[in-house]
Symmetry: C2
Subunit: 435 residues, 2 copies
Amino acid sequence: MKEIKIGILGLGTVGTGIARLLQENGSLITQRLGATLTLKKAADIDLEKDRGIQFEDGVLTSDADEVVNDPEIDIILEMIGGETIAKDFIIKAINNGKHIVTANKALLASHGNELFKLAAEKGVSIAFEPSVGGCMPIIKTIRESLAGNRIVSICGILNGTCNYILSKITNEGVSFEDALAEAQAEGFAEADPTLDIEGFDTAHKLAILSSIAYGAEINLKDIYVEGISNITAMDIEFADQCGYRIKLLAITKFNGNAIEARIHPTMIPFSNPLSNVNGSLNAVTLSGDAIGEMMLYGHGAGMMPTASAAISDTIDIARDLLFGATTRVPMLSFQKKHIKAIPTQPIDDISGYYYVRFSAIDQPGVLSKISGILGEHSISIKSVHQYEQKLNGVVPIFMLTHHAKESEIQKALAKIASLDITTKQPALIRIEGSS
Amino acid sequence: MKEIKIGILGLGTVGTGIARLLQENGSLITQRLGATLTLKKAADIDLEKDRGIQFEDGVLTSDADEVVNDPEIDIILEMIGGETIAKDFIIKAINNGKHIVTANKALLASHGNELFKLAAEKGVSIAFEPSVGGCMPIIKTIRESLAGNRIVSICGILNGTCNYILSKITNEGVSFEDALAEAQAEGFAEADPTLDIEGFDTAHKLAILSSIAYGAEINLKDIYVEGISNITAMDIEFADQCGYRIKLLAITKFNGNAIEARIHPTMIPFSNPLSNVNGSLNAVTLSGDAIGEMMLYGHGAGMMPTASAAISDTIDIARDLLFGATTRVPMLSFQKKHIKAIPTQPIDDISGYYYVRFSAIDQPGVLSKISGILGEHSISIKSVHQYEQKLNGVVPIFMLTHHAKESEIQKALAKIASLDITTKQPALIRIEGSS
């Protein structure tokens, strides 16, 4: 029986899950692969911690170099995270001729171009299915199953923390702050939740997806990013009354010339299947010229779902090794010479439908002033709702617009915000899939 | 530039879609594959028909043997359908050393074991992503993305015609006959819809999925099959009131010893994402020990979605050819020596929750008799609904049971059907995902 030896860097949640999955399903994997996958070395700084599984003698080490320098190891699973030592070890491992499996979206989004270039030079693969969407085979679907399609857009719920919080506000009417506190108490949100709730984690994932979808260089800095921390229960309730759910969506579209890539809270109609994705679950819709629209839905994070994706990538690389077919599928979906810098369309250039909410002084003429300014910017109003109840003499005014330009909306909102009849920054939420 | 030459057998809807997709996205495919896919020959008995695309000179032929015998062609896409000539041509092509891509679920479900055996002997691949779920990468997901998982169950809406009809009855309250007539008028159902509405098409697909999920020989004859032709608007309305949708589900489960495999109308709670899959769309939930549950959702049929799956398979085989890596992924997911005959559990051995409807004479004591017989068979009733309106002196009685054995349910229903207080065969619908 042939044997492929692997090493794990980092025995946190996912690293431990990988070791566990290899132990539990090792013989099943062998029946499918036709070779055994052996965990030769696993490195972590904390070797005392009880991880609930037994490692064979000699496997555990506190020295990551022992893993990346082991000549018998062919595949390194980097589960450290972050952009510092993880990057150093990946570079060392690649230089040692080892293939990489990583869940590190932050690293790939920021330094992917450099790492993929090095891997290509050294003739090894970097696989990254676990970096986006947990167990969902989103990378494989784009790279392989849609290989005959011109991909026109991708739209996804890619951060379980944000979706958990938004679902909580939707279902229980609690405030953002309370929903976040509960998410932290239940382990769905980090102590410092900024990366998640401000949309940066989602942006890392979208950078990876849009690059493999269109054959573009990874370009994190051109993604528009807006998180969910300004979403109120009032917005969600009003959206509900109009037939919408509010989700933090990662959206990318390609018109053949420029890429749109943006992360922001988005109102989507109940008829959109993403609107039914609740709690910490993730989902992605993919649109292609041949397939129309397709959706993947599942656990976007967590120990075993993410370990499943890592093992799937490891088996793929092992199959390539067994057949001498490394780089059989190009890492970034396109052959290297066809990957190019594609311009990104600034958010100001998009147009669409909008929800806006103003906090206005309760006096006659306010609506006329606001709608007058919107009119000056060619924004026509689809519906207005003004409720009677006052919050300290202030009334919320809710509006849905017809099709409008983002740049005009932004200018109009800035003008309205400067009026003394409004008491707070207006709230704006983009609408997708409506007309 | 390297070139891989392919041939198409059958220029019906999907065959034509494949030719069209190659023309429209050929250069994109080359950018991904690193080689060109060239349509060398395409055979159909009708060469006069306007298919809306231009073929290069010499490509079209009315002689399928010209395709399967062409020494330059490496991959044959069989889009004829049926179990007779399609099988003959596939066998000829395999004997000529050609790889096969097929959408022919009926053929694979009935003769797959023979064909896969021959392909293995000849060192070629049979790829069949387009045979199940249209564009959804269900085969690839099971074989590759879940390769580290013990798959425990698969549950799917795999027939667009049935889903269209059931959605129509649900949304418009029309009769089964009217919904079928509309499906036929709109091109969603064949003139002879038996294969679809009686569940056989779904059974072909489930036979393929369960075999690759568990490493089992394909075993069509042990699948329990019940179609949707007895479903009434009354059943759907009652289900709705109880929080359920009725869908034709393909269900397979594996407990490590025996496989459950069944097709039948099924009541599923609104909370199950499959309940929101409407119209001609398909969806599949996959459960594995590591991933938990995952869903794929998309167009399960149609020209371009199915062509997309066929092209994806063709590209996979082309990559294998370019790298000399044929059989890199075993056709049936497991290495040949690990594929075994696994026993199927007869439907009588399952247990679960049930919906039953009786058509009873409107007289006192009827409910007592019915519930008495159910009690004799250890079936306890969760709820009973008896409406006042009479249909020709007959009242429908609706019941939901607690957990019960299928064999006991069947015995009890047979006894109740023989009573002179009931006027028709009782209706039974199995419930999944409830408690």
